[in-house]
Subunit: 249 residues, 2 copies
DNA sequence: CGCGGCCTTGAGCAACATCAACAATAGTGG
DNA sequence: CCACTATTGTTGATGTTGCTCAAGGCCGCG
């Protein structure tokens, strides 16, 4: 039993940390940029219980997918980065069991379900890409679940930071930065790792003191990558391949 | 940090509890029953690291999808029941990050990836069904993740039992049993809920004493459904719709 | 009837939650 | 530029949940 307390929030907060760059590389369907929509940080792209008439292709910004328990406990189940496809439902007229909250200002291309259906008839390729995207989401969910179920607090936090860092960096291949804007609060890290924000804070403090990572007011700096990989309990082989953006061999 | 201990196992154990019945209702692709394969309880359908040339359509039996950490900690990320589609990889020549272990003797129809690709060209409908199946898997994974991340041990166990019970019963619509063969050890329940088998045992004992459920040597009996729903922390509305096999209204 | 896997129970402890206060920061309006 | 406020981060004291270690009982099977 944990994470019951929720601190006051109203969901404003601005964020244009993310370099806009050419968002088109992330488009699922390249024609039509009419359906593009901007959503400001803190708002929901869609909420729990909404019946999905549309699919969102995230072009720019960060989004958190989350679930809620009746008493307010919250779990962030996924962080979506540009290129992600959101809002696919198991069946037509099913209700979403999770919501999607913009962590930064966000640009999405909105694809009505009907349009998608017709696309998939014309070009089965697109449905296949969708399936692969979903398979990836599943794999990531399994990975996260393993983290939450079987790793210590320290390992979980390290693993999350490492994951987000590598996914972020994969968008700018070839760069060698070890610092980034990570638009999360410690509470959100807690919601993603199944911890309280108080404990997240302690874990982060410890890791800072030990010179592993520094996370302060939404800036993440990796001080010692190897150490981080070790703490996260990730196979170094695999971690290396993540960092270099190739498939694990 | 938990669940490090793993008890000796060799994976024998028989299980033909499941009524064989007409397994054809669970077929993704109805022609060709040539590719059918039987796998005995305890064996893996595929293992971590295997590069998937094939997809499995589970026709009969129970399967556990699991991940491993280097030091042997294990997380069961999903239980697959007849009708499930297993082994879809995020990309061709990617390696599976999770394995699939038969909990009972199992019958699967094996569909080589190449065959699936050609099917999806002929009949885009199939790819779409695949996508929906994957979307459902994602939703279930998110649900489970929330359980593990945010619920107490008691709630987690109750939630899992309730889920498995309703999913099992959905296969025989209209029946009103509240007892079933559940081919799991307490250790496997622990691996699925992120607990140790010792603690699972204590939780189950408590729930038995309180007249909620009885789980003993792989037989599950629901003593007090309403109570179980309450303990699991599930919206009664939703639970009711599960039990009746209709979509939540 | 002996063995291996599984379940059960107790004692002690570590990890993490909760409660509570306070400090740092960014955003807002003057 | 400063004062003001909401949010977020920090730290300590204390409590609880669930883990670890350990021993023994139960059940099915050869």
């Amino acid at each position: 039993m944990n994470g019951r307390a929720r601190r006051g929030s109203r969901g404003d907060d601005g964020g244009s940390w993310i370099a806009p760059s050419s968002a088109d590389q992330h488009r699922l369907v390249s024609r039509y940029r009419a359906g593009d929509r901007k959503i400001e940080a803190g708002r929901d792209l869609f909420s729990i219980g909404s019946s999905g008439g549309a699919i969102f292709n995230l072009l720019d910004g960060w989004v958190a997918l989350y679930t809620l328990l009746e008493d307010g406990r919250r779990q962030i189940v996924q962080f979506a980065l540009p290129g992600a496809v959101l809002g696919i439902l198991p069946s037509k007229r099913a209700q979403a069991t999770f919501g999607a909250q913009a962590l930064t200002d966000v640009v999405v291309s909105v694809i009505p379900a009907a349009v998608l259906a017709s696309f998939s008839r014309d070009e089965p390729e697109i449905t296949m890409r969708l399936a692969r995207s979903l398979a990836r989401d599943c794999s990531m969910a399994y990975d996260r679940m393993t983290s939450i179920g079987r790793r210590s607090a320290r390992e979980r936090v390290a693993h999350l930071l490492l994951e987000l860092f590598t996914r972020y960096r994969a968008q700018w291949p070839g760069t060698r930065i070890e610092e980034m804007a990570l638009p999360l609060t410690q509470e959100q890290i807690g919601d993603a790792t199944g911890l309280t924000f108080v404990h997240v804070n302690r874990v982060l403090s410890a890791m800072r003191k030990q010179g592993v990572v520094e996370f302060h007011y939404r800036r993440l700096r990796i001080l010692d990558p190897d150490r981080l990989i070790e703490v996260a309990g990730v196979d170094p082989q695999m971690a290396l391949s993540w960092l270099e953006g190739r498939s694990p061999g």
